[in-house]
Symmetry: D2
Subunit: 331 residues, 4 copies
């Protein structure tokens, strides 16, 4: 069985997914795409062989050739497309955030619970990165003992000014928020935010998160680091630590320096994670298994923590995170 996938949104992320589905994932076929920019949609459809560019995203969701929906459109549209996919009874993989607001996420949780089936996945692709998977395997093996502290650094080379302040959290740090929850198998219950040398932009922040079981997570997120894209972390346990710094395998010695090149953005760093995420999504659909990766609850919780961080940033106080009761569907 080949899974027919329709993609809503063919910008940077969506067209990357289209390329992978058409040429690097086993068992999948890209069958339909939609984008508000119809030319862009047509170009992506054309490059993928037999895919059609459709004029309406809801039509795409209901198209017979679409077995599963991938949502990569702008953040505010996620909720509506995910709800429509649930209504159509179709599995949907939504790029983060599941929805920008806590209320939007809760509406999705309700709809999925009402459908009685696990249909929703959220594109926190780091859960598929071999490095992070290795880190989790080491933690779960017990060889570094129980987790105590997780240190994270997340640096983008540059970001548009519109991405500063709260967006630094909701757009960038949210990956570490999900990472911490997944790695530690724990919920975040409180957040504090510090900003150095803080002008109005606040393009660099330090978040201190506290988990339900008492693990501390500190995150430096810097969206204008200039020198390159650089994402690292260290997990400290009672008996040891494990660090992740996925530099390229080659080391260059040239002009007085021995070093490794850093990528300009996240795509080279996480290319393999995206491919594995899609392959796993397709493979589970083909085998009638529940989707893996981040589910609707994870999408909700990440948004709730991110909103608490934004409040902490704006009020300069520690904020507690209040989560709703976890529905049985996600047990």
């Amino acid at each position: 069985m080949t899974v027919g996938v329709g993609i809503i949104g063919t910008g940077v992320m969506g067209s990357d997914h289209a390329r992978l589905l058409a040429g690097a994932v086993s068992g999948a076929a890209l069958t339909a795409v939609f984008d508000v920019d119809q030319q862009r949609a047509a170009a992506v459809a054309g490059s993928a062989g037999s895919a059609r560019a459709l004029a309406d995203p809801i039509e795409l969701i209901h198209d017979d050739a679409v077995d599963a929906v991938l949502v990569a459109s702008s953040d505010p549209t996620h909720e509506a497309f995910v709800l429509a996919s649930i209504a159509a009874g179709k599995p949907v993989l939504c790029e983060k955030p599941l929805a920008p607001t806590v209320d939007g996420c809760l509406r999705i949780l309700d709809a999925e619970a009402a459908s009685g089936r696990r249909l929703v996945s959220v594109g926190f692709m780091r859960r598929y990165d071999p490095g992070y998977v290795d880190m989790k395997t080491i933690l779960d093996s017990g060889e570094i003992g129980a987790a105590l502290v997780l240190h994270c650094v997340h640096r983008n080379a540059s970001a548009p000014a519109s991405r500063f302040r709260g967006d630094v959290i909701t757009n960038s740090a949210v990956h570490e928020i999900d990472l911490a929850r997944w790695l530690l198998d724990d919920e975040i219950v409180a957040a504090s935010v510090y900003t150095p040398r803080a002008g109005a932009t606040r393009d660099i922040q330090i978040l201190v998160l506290e988990s339900a079981t008492g693990v501390l997570v500190d995150i430096e997120v810097f969206v204008n680091a200039r020198y390159g894209y650089d994402v690292r972390c260290e997990l400290v346990g009672e008996e040891g630590s494990v660090s992740l710094d996925a530099a390229p395998a080659t080391e260059l010695r040239r002009a007085g320096m021995a070093g490794r090149r850093l990528p300009g953005d996240w795509r080279p760093r996480f290319a393999e994670a995206y491919r594995r995420e899609l392959q796993d999504w397709i493979e589970r659909l083909r085998n009638n298994r529940n989707p893996g990766g981040a589910d609707g609850w994870d999408g909700y919780s990440a948004t709730a923590v991110a909103q608490a961080c934004v409040a902490a940033l704006e009020t300069n106080t520690r904020q507690e995170v209040k989560l709703t009761a976890k529905p049985h569907l996600y047990a």
Copy 2:
């Protein structure tokens, strides 16, 4: 179009290829398998969905559901299966060596030339490893200047005693021989071999190869290194150098040490290279393009150099490599 692949030989390599073709390569279907151990063949066929285990390898090559053949059987059988694939007009990807003898390789070159088409690929998968590709990109960019020396280390944790002496070269060092030829875009013209503290086993050797344009390649190959699988190299140019040491992305700090785990064998190290090799093979077949990677000539040249190295080992003298004229097909 989906490419139907038949695999001859379902040992370690063949069953790994079967798994990739069935679940990680876009556009391919595993349709038939053969192995001298019919139970093993049946198990691999069963795990891949619709593949059939056939009783005869030549029958497999001619099967209508087999668009392309993958040869992963024992080394002495390679020549016959590659020749039969050429005779059937089907693309064939053969695990190294193309053939264990220079004469066998030449018979394949003749047959492929007579067919008038590029059908043969040799599974020197390192050409698809992202690290080596990065290395070649850096060399070709000119930023380290013209190549002068290539240092290679190839260590296996252990090898059966039968794999010592000449097999150290033909089985292990042959990867570096192909690597050097591909990276430098050059032929090897002479070889010397040194053995330290040499008992009868000669499980560790140093090869010094000379290329046609005067680049030196030294290779330490050690098939009983015990501590782990460890493959590295450094390419030195007139302006700089580039090194490859593909350790895992995670660093563990534990019990007085900060370090990285080494794999036990080559499979984790080159898993991604194998996947890319197969994906590229399938994608080119689907698009009616010539196969990429190592071709028949590369397979022949690698065997010729390996045989010169074996002669150098046995006679303790420098051996020149005499290659036949390169057929137009490989220009």
Copy 3:
């Protein structure tokens, strides 16, 4: 001219200093030692050739063969010996802390100011570590732009239970407090402290310090990390970052791992810093120059910040650091 040095306190630190002064520092002679354990003092004196073990520390300070005093006795005794050295008009290098209380430090500042001369040095030896010096040189060169954040990790393999809670700060983190002040050429003005999974021991803490110019400093200090002694940091600027992780120069590949050994405690890590600290102290004395390294003001400020951190730990609130006006002597 040879500088005669008297050492008060010949425990681990004092006997190390004695060994260096007797055999690895140019222009110095160890002339006298005192310890409450007279046998220990005699042994150290005997190993250094012509040094005498004296029965009274004040007598040592006034001894004619003592040109300069090194205080390495227990923390509560520092103040008295430093004050006595000032009273005797003799240069004194005091191991950290200058005094355990802010008031004690202020009494020393007053006495030194009254003497009209710079006599006091505090043994924050990291200022002489080649790695930290290199870091400061890079920051001061401007090539990473203005400092924004300093991340520090300070892990001891183990500490006696009596060293937990506040002592974690005053004994271990105080090195990072001085380091941050020196590296950034800035004062710390506020401190917050977080403790993960916090039992009563609080042997691991995260300190968040804010500097006067708005740089953030986060410090993980973990005095019971078990796997080894491990001190690292990363300084992030507007254009780049510089990290320090002074692993040994040798990498070992053995038993499935490629890695570097970590020391069991601080002595191997900072051996060279101690030697350079002493050599610089002696060289400046010989040349009638003011002492380098941390001065009395630095000792006072470090204690003031450490006390604010202890208050932040105990009250679970952010604490501001109130410093007295800086005396002209330290301008």
Copy 4:
């Protein structure tokens, strides 16, 4: 007791030694210097306090204020000054080479044997480098098993054209020759030399040395590597390996790269080795112990192996090294 040292030759090496003896070595005093450039000698004497610049090197050797002689003059003069020091009964530390010719070295061995005392040291300072010492400690501990292969890389950023061909060996590779002998506690018995892309300059060579017990040593020596000074090695044993790559402790992330700076020449890399070499020399003299480090025999053997390498380079054949019987003095 303070050891008065006279230095013959105050070029780059000699003035560095003068600076160390005057300001970084315990128990030493620089008392006299000689250089063919009298102004340079006077400047060095002046910077070191009480040292005198003498007009004649033999006069210096016999000067009453000179307890020990350090020879850092041009290579062809070494033999005469070492012989004169032996004749005067004074310990002498001679920069490498002990003498440029095997015959010259043998004359020194004879003279030292005749004197009945160990007076001669050769400045192979790598034996004092903490990294190499660590490497030897690891080998001697048995944890990597018996040595099989030593891989060395020795790259200088640039060298005058006059330093090419044979000088590449006698000036640069000779350090690895001594290193191999010392590390392995073994003699070199044969040598082969390869040159890549060999123009007349032969500024890059690969030496393959064979030890008496059958260890192989390969050395890439490249005196015009341009990108920086870079000296590394890996020692492979039956159970593991140990590598040395003494990059600076700081890592810089800037302009798309994460890396470490390489020094422009050997002085930063081996500064600590030179200091320890001198301190050990002085300390042993003060305690009437035989000198440590490389002795006369080591100096002779290094020159003999280097000459065999030069012959191998010039004749393009494997050369055996014939050593004289080892005098009892060096047992």
